[in-house]
């Protein structure tokens, strides 16, 4: 699956700064020219060409509406005037930009230049130093355009850079969660993924839960959880709950987006229409979603709205509703409120574990659990 690239952090300028033996800290090259003003550099130079303690650290300083990200390098050797070469290849962005994704790039660049200097005096020799300017131009252009850049420097060195978009930490995947593809499964390029993911792929159908996938694909449960969590991180799948006709759902305020937003409408109607049937009407679908409410099971919905369901696949209806947060599932939580002093404290009936979880962990069915608990007057059921 191709992960679409989105450029959130535009690089405005790339600069190369060094400590000149007589002139002190200065900007030797910058692309585009004259981007960093004299004033700006004066203000921030202490963070660009730095004292020894700050060398080799990623430093981002914000001043005059700009953010400068650099990594000061110091190479000590007798051959240099003042016995050390100090330089810093950095990026400039607008102050509002989120620059976290650019930091590894800056660090890598400083590493590359250090290597080049140690191997062949790339920076200290004037003839090779000139090459920096076209290199910086190319970097600026390609990183902004595609977020990646591969640039050969000389016969033995090539720069490989890629902007990795940082994403939010994915939630923990439970054994009773159901992964469902957010986009068409056909777009998925199997070979790009690890072996575990490849093995469980055929079993991700938006209806099998993790425990089932683990059993049928013959992969250890925790491995499946981690693999799915990885897919979650990249936005390839999202999690919904197990589907049963006894499930209860209710609408969220987002359900109105089905009316307001044409693109969600289109997507929905395409998704929920039964294969080979006439396209479902918006009114029918909206009525179905609105028919979901606390106390109403999917089975009830099917009998009440049989007319509307002629062209609609109810399982996909629910799936779509959950994926887009148009509806949410109401889970049952048993709580043991009365118990005598001598009995053990409840382990599962504490209000922290839903029926889904209890059934998954203990292997009993919903019906059995219901029968057990209904007749127990010490237990109350909370739905939320």
């Amino acid at each position: 699956m191709t992960i679409r690239f989105r450029m959130n952090s535009r690089i405005e300028c790339i600069f190369f700064s060094e400590f000149h033996p007589t002139l002190g800290p200065k900007i030797t090259y910058q692309v585009p020219e004259e981007y960093i003003s004299r004033e700006l550099f004066d203000t921030v130079q202490v963070y660009i060409i730095t004292k020894p303690e700050l060398q080799n650290k990623l430093i981002t300083v914000t001043a005059m509406g700009k953010k400068l990200i650099g990594c000061p390098v110091c190479i000590e050797h007798k051959k240099y005037s003042r016995n050390a070469l100090l330089f810093n290849l950095g990026l400039v962005c607008d102050a509002q930009t989120n620059t976290c994704a650019l930091e590894p790039i800056v660090k890598k660049l400083s590493g590359y230049l250090t290597t080049l200097e140690l191997e062949s005096g790339f920076i200290s020799k004037e003839e090779s130093k000139h090459k920096l300017l076209p290199i910086m131009s190319t970097l600026l252009e390609e990183l902004n355009a595609t977020g990646a850049c591969t640039l050969p420097i000389d016969e033995s060195n090539t720069i490989h850079l890629k902007l990795i978009q940082l994403r939010k930490d994915p939630p923990i995947v439970q054994e009773y969660d159901v992964p469902v593809f957010t986009q068409c499964k056909d777009h998925f390029i199997k070979s790009q993924w690890d072996l575990t993911t490849q093995q469980i792929l055929p079993y991700i159908d938006g209806f099998r839960h993790i425990q089932k996938i683990s059993a049928e694909a013959d992969v250890e449960l925790n491995l499946v959880r981690i693999a799915v969590q990885n897919l979650l991180y990249y936005g390839v799948v999202t999690l919904v709950s197990i589907f049963q006709y006894s499930n209860v759902y209710c609408t969220t305020p987002k359900v109105q987006s089905l009316i307001d937003d044409k693109s969600i409408q289109e997507e929905c109607l395409n998704y929920v229409t039964k294969q080979g049937h006439k396209r479902a009407s918006l009114r029918d679908v909206f009525q179905l979603y609105c028919g979901l409410s606390p106390g109403t099971t999917v089975r009830d919905l099917c009998s009440r709205y049989s007319l509307q369901l002629q062209n609609v696949d109810e399982r996909r209806l629910i799936q779509f509703g959950l994926m887009k947060s148009l509806i949410r599932r109401l889970q049952k939580y048993p709580v043991k409120v009365i118990r005598d002093e001598r009995s053990r404290p409840p382990r599962l009936y504490t209000g922290c574990h839903s029926y889904d979880e209890i059934c998954c962990k203990t292997g009993i069915t919903y019906k059995e659990l219901d029968e057990r608990l209904e007749n127990d007057s010490n237990i109350v059921i909370c739905w939320k």
Binding site: V255, C382, K384
Partner: protein
């Protein structure tokens, strides 16, 4: 996510100096090979990175002490004492995993040394301070809004210090004490070789140091800071991310702001603490309007009524309410009444062993929280919950429980929303009619309060224009008198926004034959987009619930109805993820 250390730097004729930092580097707790002078940049690097802190603040604080060991005091003073052109603005610097936020402030007039005639001691040369910077060091994965808030705090402290410096050289005096203590420790260390943190010695001698320590401690615990700089100027601040937490989620300040801008006069203010507790927390010089509001507010009174009862302008009520909400002292709800329908919030903590459960039993002896919460598994109206067969005192008790549950973010209120959706015609391809439902076509009628509440700065003058809902937002009053041509024309105009097919279907409904009903339907048409609940329609149009419900029933063949929470105020009960 919270702040991690607090440092004051000053820059002047004697060069840059780190005056104070907190927490101190706990040098004594390290192996004897480490002294204050030694740097060990790789010490506990792995302990610093990868510590994924969820809510364990103590682990978090500890983490940062190790990280800061990489920066000696000298280097800190160099990097944090900025050039003068960076003054008066937000200062933000990130070094590896640490982010520094501050507000460097220039002291333009060098302090004039007052020499009293009776003071025989020779004039001592005071260091001339040119600029100072109160800096907070944070973890880099801090949300940008947290960084903004910390900058705000730094700026407030800076303003207070600048003021006191100009008035009585407060900062210079405190700086002198800090420097003296540092010199003392350096001499002591040189003599007997035992490493000590000079900053620890400063605390008992220097009020400013104690204030900064208090600010840090408060931020890490409650998120509310209240300082009195030089026992005179008050600096108050709250970190919304710490205050507005429901479970492990926090309400982002932008969401809070959006919500507050959308509240309406029919909403109510629910105080999260008792009146007495709240009043005792107010500063002595707080506005009397605030006191009046707190004393007159009630969960059953809407903001408009509150304005009348407290004898304040509605505008003021909105402002004070927003202020209380921002500081985590109140939330916005729909006023309590018989017909309110409540359900368990999806984020409610219903665990048997939660501190809430214990709290509840203390408050309402003989009842347990999970059992009461179970009653809200299905949506239940306040009238049903109250059970009129019980004694009135019992009823009041149950109402109190509902209020308690609302205060603790356990319940959401459900409202009914209506949407016009006409059955597609048989002849035309269904798509044409679905093309643009009414919601998309009837644009532009803004029915929300056009307020411009400025957020987070209670003293700023807000430019708020509030229109009285009964005038602008309700549709034009149609003249009574059935079938008059004027009325007919108005009804036609209102129905004009519909497509031909929609109009036909509506006019074919039996109820539409009654001109009164048709007129009322046409008048309310713009509410049927799924964004206005029944209570709002009732408030704006001055209608009774029974009237409205009858009408909706008559036209049910073209309307779709659903129940869910009001997205404007639902963030107080279930924060968006």
């Amino acid at each position: 996510m919270t702040d991690n250390s607090c440092t004051v730097i000053s820059s002047g004729s004697r060069g840059n100096k780190l005056l104070f930092r907190y927490p101190f580097q706990r040098v004594a707790e390290y192996p004897s090979s480490l002294t204050a002078k030694q740097r060990n940049p790789y010490a506990l690097n792995t302990a610093g990175d990868g510590l994924e802190d969820q809510d364990g603040d103590s682990r978090y604080k500890l983490c940062l002490i190790f990280l800061l060991k990489r920066f000696s005091d000298i280097i800190l003073s160099t990097i944090l004492a900025t050039k003068s052109d960076m003054c008066g603005k937000k200062f933000e610097l990130k070094i590896d995993n640490v982010r520094f936020v501050g507000h460097p402030t220039l002291l333009q007039h060098p302090p004039v040394i007052q020499v009293s005639k009776t003071d025989p001691s020779p004039k001592r040369e005071m260091p001339t301070m040119i600029l100072f910077n109160v800096v907070f060091a944070l973890r880099t994965n801090a949300d940008p809004s947290v960084i903004s808030c910390m900058h705000n705090l730094s700026r407030r402290i800076a303003i207070a210090l600048q003021h006191e410096e100009r008035r009585c050289q407060y900062l210079t005096r405190e700086a002198k004490l800090m420097l003296a203590a540092q010199d003392e420790i350096t001499t002591m260390t040189e003599m007997d070789g035992s490493p000590q943190s000079p900053f620890r010695q400063i605390l008992p001698k220097c009020k400013l140091a104690r204030d900064l320590k208090e600010a840090y401690d408060s931020l890490c615990t409650t998120g509310v800071v209240r300082l009195h700089i030089n026992n005179w100027l008050e600096v108050s601040f709250c970190l919304p991310h710490k205050i507005h937490r429901i479970g492990s989620n926090y309400i982002p300040p932008e969401a809070l702001e959006r919500s507050l801008k959308a509240i309406r006069p029919y909403h109510a203010l629910l105080l999260l603490e008792s009146e007495k507790a709240l009043l005792s927390q107010l500063p002595l010089d707080c506005s009397p309007a605030m006191v009046r509001l707190i004393k007159t507010s009630s969960a059953m009174k809407n903001l408009q009524q509150l304005a009348q009862d407290a004898d304040l302008a509605l505008l003021q009520i909105f402002q004070i309410a927003a202020h209380l909400v921002y500081w985590g002292k109140a939330i916005i709800i729909y006023p309590l009444c018989e017909n309110n329908v409540y359900m368990l919030s999806p984020h409610a903590n219903i665990s048997l062993y939660s501190p809430l459960a214990e709290h509840f039993t203390q408050h309402f002896p003989g009842y347990d929280l999970p059992s009461m919460l179970a009653k809200f598994s299905l949506p239940v109206s306040l009238a049903e919950f109250r059970n009129p067969l019980e004694a009135p005192a019992q009823e009041a008790y149950l109402i109190q429980m509902v209020v308690w549950m609302l205060q603790h973010h356990l319940l959401i209120q459900l409202h009914t929303y209506v949407c016009l959706l006409v059955p597609p015609s048989e002849e035309e391809p269904g798509l044409r009619d679905e093309d643009l439902p009414l919601a998309a076509r009837v644009g532009g009628r803004s029915l929300s309060t056009p307020s411009a509440l400025s957020f987070g700065s209670p003293t700023s003058s807000d430019d708020m224009t509030l229109t009285s809902p009964s005038m602008d937002n309700s549709s034009a009053e149609l003249l009574p008198g059935g079938d008059s041509p004027l009325n007919k024309r108005m009804t036609e105009t209102l129905l004009a926004s519909l497509s031909e097919h929609e109009r036909q279907v509506i006019l074919n409904i039996p109820a539409a034959q009654n001109p009164e009903d048709l007129r009322m339907f046409a008048r309310l048409l713009h509410y049927f987009r799924g964004h206005h609940h029944l209570e709002e329609i009732m408030y704006n149009e001055n209608m009774r619930r029974s009237q409205l419900k009858t009408l909706l029933d008559k036209f049910r063949s073209v309307l779709v109805v659903t129940n869910h929470e009001d997205p404007i105020i639902s963030i107080f009960q279930s924060p968006m993820e």
